[in-house]
Amino acid sequence: MTLALISFAIFFIISAIILVTAYFSPIPRKIGFRNIRRRFGNTVLVVIGSLVGAALISGSLVLSDSLDKTFVDIVHRMIGEQDAEITLSEKAYSNKPLPYLAEEETEEIKDMLDIDEVDGVFTSLAIRTSPQKINDEGEPVINTYQIRIDGVDMESLKKFGESPVELVDIKDNEVLISKPLAKKLELSVGDTIRAPYGPLSIDFKVKKIYEENGLIDGWRIITTNKYLTSQLGIPKDSYNTIVISAKGGIEPENYDGPEFEKTLEKALEDFDSDTYELSVMEWKKEALEGYGMKTFVIMFIVLSFFGVFSGILLIVNLYSMLAEERKREMGILRAIALTRLQLTKTFIYEGFLYTLISSAIGSILGVGIGYILVHSLDQMFAKMMSLTGGEDLFKLSFGFKWQSLLIAFSAGFLFTIVTAILSSYKISKLSIVTAIKDIKEKADLQIGCKWIAKTFVYGLGLFSSLLFTLSFFVIRTFMDEGRNQDGNPLAEMTTSNYNDTVDLIQAHVLYIGIQLTLALGVMFINRIAKALLKKDIDRVTVTIASLSNIAITASMITLDSFRSAFMQDAGTALFFILSVSLVISLALAVTYNLNIISTILGYPLRRIGSLRSVVRMAFRYPAENIKRTGITLVMFALIIFLIAYVSMVKATVDQETRKMLLNTLGGYDLIIIPGPDTTMQQTDQIIEDLEDLKDVDRVSKMGQTVVVLPQYKYKDLEEAQYWGDPSQTPSHSEEDSFRSYYSSLPEDFIKKARISLSERAKGYETDEEVWDKVIEDSSKIVLGDAFAATQGFGQQPKISVGDKVIVSDLFEQKDIEKEVIGIVKAQEGGSPSASFSPYIITTNKHVEEEFDENYLNRYSAKSLLAAFNGDNTIEKTNSIKKELISYNISMIMNIDDMTETAISFINSMMILLQGFLAFCLIVGTSGLAIIITRAVHERRQQIGMMRSLGFQRWMILASFFIESTFITMLGIVIGLSTGTIGALISFEVAYQDQPDVSPVFPIREIALICLFVYIASMLFAILPSIKAARLSPVEATDYPE
């Protein structure tokens, strides 16, 4: 809101100043306003160009607003008043199948939560299950996975939060469900749902179906605590979950998430239980981040930067052209005694009306384009998400705020008017003769006081930028000092946050410093060289500086601070600076060498006699108008940069994800994860059932068994630098031995999965040798990638290959010595993989030999792997799902589905990006068309003269066509090459621990997009070219100036 007000206030003040001065400056006002009417075609072009720029700004903001609206909708639908949740974790593993608080403990907690910051608490006994719809014969017909049943205290639920959800009373086995769940299970009021849970099966009757209302969503069933406890055989009023509402209604911005979590933790610090620890989690904001919205927002911000930057370049180009065109008459006006200020005013008054119209229409048009884009993206998401079962979550909602419209309007206005002011000021400073005769401005070559003063300022700038760059080396020392001072904000940070911050600052200082030094260095050297040598050496210095900048950018990835900064969310600004810098550098190098490039490219065309003169004209104009060509190239290349970047990222991530997932299931087609509390007997029963199916070739178990490593105590471990959720680490106290898991895998899985190792013990030449040894010898283990992860996975002891590790059961009654002979290679970004082998890896056979059945039954979670006879098909998967419907299965996933799900998520991200790129493309192509149309206007007399000299119509057309092709192609080449460099830099950073990753350059896809871009540009460019060709010689030469 503040930004909107400030920008609108600036608009208002500038407008007021312009209008007041216009009132008191009749001559500039008359000239300025009459120029608008004088050439209506020109006016329309300038307005359209600025309008596209403003539309892009408002469109970007509207897309951002829509994401905000999507957040709010999700919050209202799925979270409502629920802001935090308290769950239980056992201090020690007990024999209770389901941990819960006794009634008095719950009451004690509720009393502790009676604080100002909290305005609602409800208690629940929550269990997870895969419910089934039961038909009249009592048979399950449809099921779904991972639903939470909340056995609640209805009285506290009805009073929950500021705006409690109105609920009907339920009794006995009645449940309340949401429409999405009813749709999934084809349920109506009165139908029966069965929830398998461990050895139990609990039946419910649907009492009422609600729209999702922030309490009952697609993943939750509400029943009474009385009924659920009675079915589970535990005392009435037992709870394991306490849901809390923070004061301030539903909107997430009404409370500070981390602060609220701290408040709750403090309120509960006196809770003392021998059995349980309370785990407090601020839920709303965490959940929103979990939905991946943060990534979306960051993507949009980066894309908006690119889009807005392209829009600004278009506006700058148009006004520079307009000012150039007016140069001659501005010279005449100066000659007849108009002051420089009056001259600038004429242009500002003219520009004021253009920008007022274009910003108003453009910002409204942007809202319309934003609406179409959000609508199309929503449909694409719906399709994509229906594959993954998340269709209810990803509903993109269109939304826009008046503030955004104000910002877009004011920003469009300000950028345009500032460009108009700067362009006219520059021309008003030209000498009258230079302006009238349209002579190029001569460089300041005379060494005198003015020259020395100016050169000194340049030198000072260069020196300062050098100092700024070199400060890179001392930043850490300064910041370390600050960190040692009590009360300094740096001292409050965790080590990892502090290191990230230092890296971020270092990377920005170094990179921006280098850019500044190069730019100022070129200006300084040029100035001195021109004065001493009396020669223009711009081409040489700019080319050397530009190419050096590209080389420096590419080599920045060898710096640790740069890599670290690049991986952080805040590093997206660095990505933007880097991308723009790469594009501008190459565009500068190309623009300053256009004569050489055009000589080489034009060679084959010049062999054709009649094309010689055409080619000369086509290449000479862009080569002579360096500034205009440069800006057009940058504008165009930025969009192609993004296209190349996005396409490469998409193709490479696609390839790597497929590769990773193919390894994940080691030749099996399905993974079946039984629900929590599934007994060993039930698991064996599932295996038996599966093996009876004709489609199934083999079934294996994959286990995760709790073990401890007595050599390592938690208190001795270093500060954890969590990569993920600390709750992944089994609950423990500081005195406990380090707890981990045995990941026990089937032997054939190990052989086929070919999990890559980052380290091998001495004597093992290949990864295969290591895995063969693990299968053969129970005393050899491989540590999973949780141990190899660069940033840790909870607290991890430092264990190296060759170390002897004692593995024991939870009660430390066994001491089995193992030798670590390998460590699994970490996945993308150095984080532990989502694969099934993150802990201590051995075989099922060895684990079954070492631990008794009771231990495994209680402390081991099992997943099942199944391989089909023949091809992997959706039909076979569905038949297995149907066969296992009566079991409490958490998830059945097919490797193909998993791959498609993972890829579809990436694809949906890419669709979002591509949708935005399409929007940017409008700017690029229409910008080119507008620039060509302006060029036709500008060269009208020259076209007439060329026609008199014997240029045929087709030659004029061909000349413009070759010129547009030349610019478009150069833009495409610059964009493609810098986009590829940008993508390679990203891969180098993102996959730094995976040298096997081979970047993919999807030639076909990129070629098709470039062809489309080229055709679109030509379609836009052809109309003005035809118009130029149609001019008769006399019509063109008679054109009034």
Binding site: D438, R606, S948, L949, F951
Partner: protein, 227 residues
Amino acid sequence: MSKKEKIVDAKNLKKIYNQGHPNEVQALKGIDLTVDKGETMTIMGPSGSGKTTLLNCISGIDEATSGEIFVAGKDLQKMKDGEKTRYRAKNMGFIFQTFNLIPVLTAVENVEMPLLVTGVKAKEARERSLEMLKIVGLEDRAEHKPSELSGGQVQRVTIARSLVHRPAIVWADEPTGNLDSKTAHSVFDLMLELNDKYNETFVVVTHDEEIAKKTQRIVNIDSGKLV
């Protein structure tokens, strides 16, 4: 005395602007005009008399409403645009008052243009253009852009360009209109010198009586009629 060869033969030439509209203007009212090969002729008349329109029509860069125009024996009125353009490229040279040169090309590149348009090889075009610039006394300005030349130099380059391909006729519309008197005479003298040297035909539109007197024939036009 042998009969001179006619290079231009225009009969009953009429040009009407905005025909059928209330603001209809009869710019040429049935003009008959002939120009002999090697002749230097001036068309004179007050502003708005139709002299530039006459030049534009007989040179083929504008369409006459009716009448016949033969240039070097070819009927321009019957030619299609492409044919007329080709004919112009080969047989005519033009000098205008302003906007004569392409600003992004150097002097020599501007002079080369008519040769390149007609498919002359680059090397030959460059040699002939430099030669022509030498003739007009600007060989040392060959690599200069138009903005780096004086008004007189620009017109000299234009003359070089109009003659480089040895056209049958050169049309000049106020070629000295933008120049001071001394430069104007020097430029015009150069044109006459080249007429003498190469037997080129020059048809010139001018206001300047002093200049006009230097040509072999003066034709006066007023209100669209020869007087």
